[in-house]
């Protein structure tokens, strides 16, 4: 019984900690004045992916109302509006960037059986011979359905994954890190959703 409770507690703790960022608890984020977004390198599978992610990061920061400037080659500066001078370096690594992941959807194809009805029109002479006077004859055959077949369809989707790390520029200490991924049918929407989820977490640190 105790063992079962311990397992349940461990399970709940695991679920509770699931997908939470790693944060340095001793770091005071309220003293940060600027974040420098470092240039993002391409994923091995796709040339230009670094620029796409970098542009999305700048775009989402701007969308959330931050002052963004790209005046130096050092990176993109995001000004938080604080008068303090602490600066964080934000490094983004692309872990996944694909628009052609194949997804298979299996399905059951049920043979429900069928009924075939053949209606034959009798000729006038045959109709006269027929004592009942009928002009048509009908044959109905029923086929029972039994076997359940299975099939599948395929479609492709996009999948984007990133890891974000923030280090204090002066001390070099890693103060915050998290990974994100998202999937979707279109690459540009998927990229935007992935980056938006990431930045919404970063934003919480400075509120």
């Amino acid at each position: 019984m105790k063992l079962l409770l311990a397992f349940l507690l461990a399970g709940l703790l695991t679920i509770g900690c699931w997908s939470r960022p790693a944060v340095n608890p001793n770091y005071d984020f309220s003293t940060v004045g600027t974040i420098i977004l470092k240039p993002v390198y391409d994923h091995a599978d796709m040339t230009g992916s670094g620029e796409i992610i970098e542009s999305n990061l700048s775009f989402i920061f701007m969308k959330y109302g931050y002052d963004v400037s790209q005046t130096t080659e050092e990176g993109t500066f995001i000004h938080l509006g604080n008068v303090d001078t602490r600066t964080l370096n934000l490094v983004c690594t692309i872990t996944e960037f694909t628009d052609s992941e194949v997804i298979i959807v299996p399905y059951r194809l049920e043979d429900r059986g069928r009924t075939e009805t053949t209606v034959t029109q009798l000729s006038e002479s045959d109709a006269k011979e027929n004592q009942a006077g009928a002009t048509t004859s009908t044959i109905t055959t029923a086929y029972a359905g039994s076997v359940q077949e299975s099939g599948r369809i395929e479609y492709t989707r996009a999948r984007v994954g990133i890891i974000l790390k923030m280090t204090d520029q002066r001390t070099g200490h890693l103060v915050w890190s998290h990974s994100y991924w998202y999937s979707g049918l279109e690459l540009h929407r998927t990229t935007e959703a992935c980056v938006r989820n990431a930045i919404s977490q970063v934003r919480k640190l400075f509120q």
Binding site: I103, Y107, R112, V119, G151, Y182, S183, G184, E186, R196
Partner: protein, 110 residues
Amino acid sequence: MNLYKSIRLMKKLTIFFFYGILLAGSGTALEMAAAAMKAGLFREALVHVDIAQAQDRTNAEVYRLKALLHEAIDEPNKAVQAWQSCLENTQDNALKNEAKVHIQSLQGRE
């Protein structure tokens, strides 16, 4: 005589029509959905996915496809519902994880 021919033709067409409806299962609907998706017709694809879902209400993969289509046409509330149905109908941890990520993301949208 022409009237007889017309009646027989109408009978045959009616039989073919009902026969077609009987044979159109979830597989046919999904194949049509896949074809529509390839052409970029996401709303059209959703119509076929709805038919497939009505015929097989426990297929988590169909719910995932439905959720992704709703997201693609910017219907977050319907996408959340589809992801929740996907979550309820699967034992696959990767799929459960994906559904949770999407629900969390869609509910946290501003």
